[in-house]
């Protein structure tokens, strides 16, 4: 039996959990994030070190590898951008 690829909602749930840990927000607030919610460049506490930790944690929890070239302003700017990136990476894997 082949293992099913993680569903979109599974990736969404994991990504919200990571953001909860990084931003120190409660589950309810992170649950309200939508595709347009601003991240890097919008939240002052999300500096380069915090983003680096976020990406490294995404690699661990989503079992993906994020290359240098993958990281750009667009994917980090909104929750929707980050989620789309994570979904594409998981499929690619």
């Amino acid at each position: 039996m082949t293992e099913l690829a993680p569903s979109r909602s599974d990736i969404d749930t994991k990504l919200r959990a990571i953001l909860r840990d990084v931003l120190g927000l409660d589950a309810e607030r992170v649950e309200r994030f939508d595709g347009d919610t601003g991240l890097f460049g919008h939240l002052p506490e999300l500096d380069s070190m915090a983003v680096a930790g976020l990406l490294t944690e995404m690699e661990d929890r989503l079992d993906i590898i994020i290359e240098d070239d993958d990281v750009d302003g667009e994917m980090l700017e909104t929750y929707g951008g980050l989620l789309a990136f994570a979904e594409a990476k998981v499929v690619e894997n």
Binding site: I18, R20, D21, V22, L23, G24, L43, E45, L46, D47, S48, M49, A50, V51, A52, G53, L54, L55, T56, E57, D68, V71, D72, G73
Partner: protein, 197 residues
């Protein structure tokens, strides 16, 4: 108890947790000491001149000086721990992972400033002449040794992972935070482990 702190940025993030655990251990009658690794925190030594070998020697010397019987390491602190000393490793991490996050932080910051830097090029510079990452000037010896240093799973110390403590990992938090519940859980794991069977 010799306490070896997390490394670099993670040491700041875990500062409150580290101290809160030490206070709880004190309340349980366990003396602990938290030395600065040379070149870190309030140490007057230059960070550029450090190596992991030197940190290990200093940790062993501190253990002997304070007559420590056990060691508690947090995150990357495990890499400096005397391997034969009994104790605990909280959420141990390999040197490569510590460097990876710092290298990435630097490339993201560079990109924001309109410069292109690659992790690979920074790694080469790090090995040959050292490199400053996220404000920490790492010398070539420390950089190269961190790249290959990993926690030893069959050592004398017991691993305590974040799952056993519960809650979100404080080293991930963008703003340093504290968690009395996590400090309770971590110190309880240690005092239970020390209690006579």
């Amino acid at each position: 108890m010799l306490v070896l702190p997390a490394l670099f940025d993670e040491a700041n993030k875990l500062r409150r947790l580290t101290v809160e655990v030490m206070q709880r251990l004190d309340g349980a009658g366990i003396d602990s000491v938290l030395p600065d690794l040379p070149g870190c925190n309030e140490s007057r030594q230059p960070l550029q001149a450090q190596s992991l070998d030197h940190w290990r020697q200093c940790a062993a010397a501190a253990a002997a000086h304070f007559s420590a019987t056990h060691v508690l390491t947090l995150r990357g602190g495990v890499l400096a721990a005397p391997p034969e000393m009994p104790g605990w490793n909280y959420a141990p991490v390999a040197g490569r992972q510590v460097l990876r996050a710092m290298l990435r932080a630097r490339t993201i910051a560079a990109r924001e400033a309109g410069r292109e830097e690659t992790i690979e090029a920074l790694q080469q510079t790090g090995r040959s002449e050292g490199v400053e990452l996220a404000g920490w000037p790492l010398g070539p010896d420390l950089f190269a040794q961190l790249e290959s240093a990993a926690p030893q799973p069959d050592g004398a110390q017991v691993e305590i992972d974040q799952g056993a403590i519960g809650g979100g990992a404080l080293w991930l938090r963008a703003e340093p935070d504290e968690s009395p519940a996590q400090a309770d859980a971590l110190s309880a794991a240690i005092t239970t482990g020390l209690a006579p069977a």
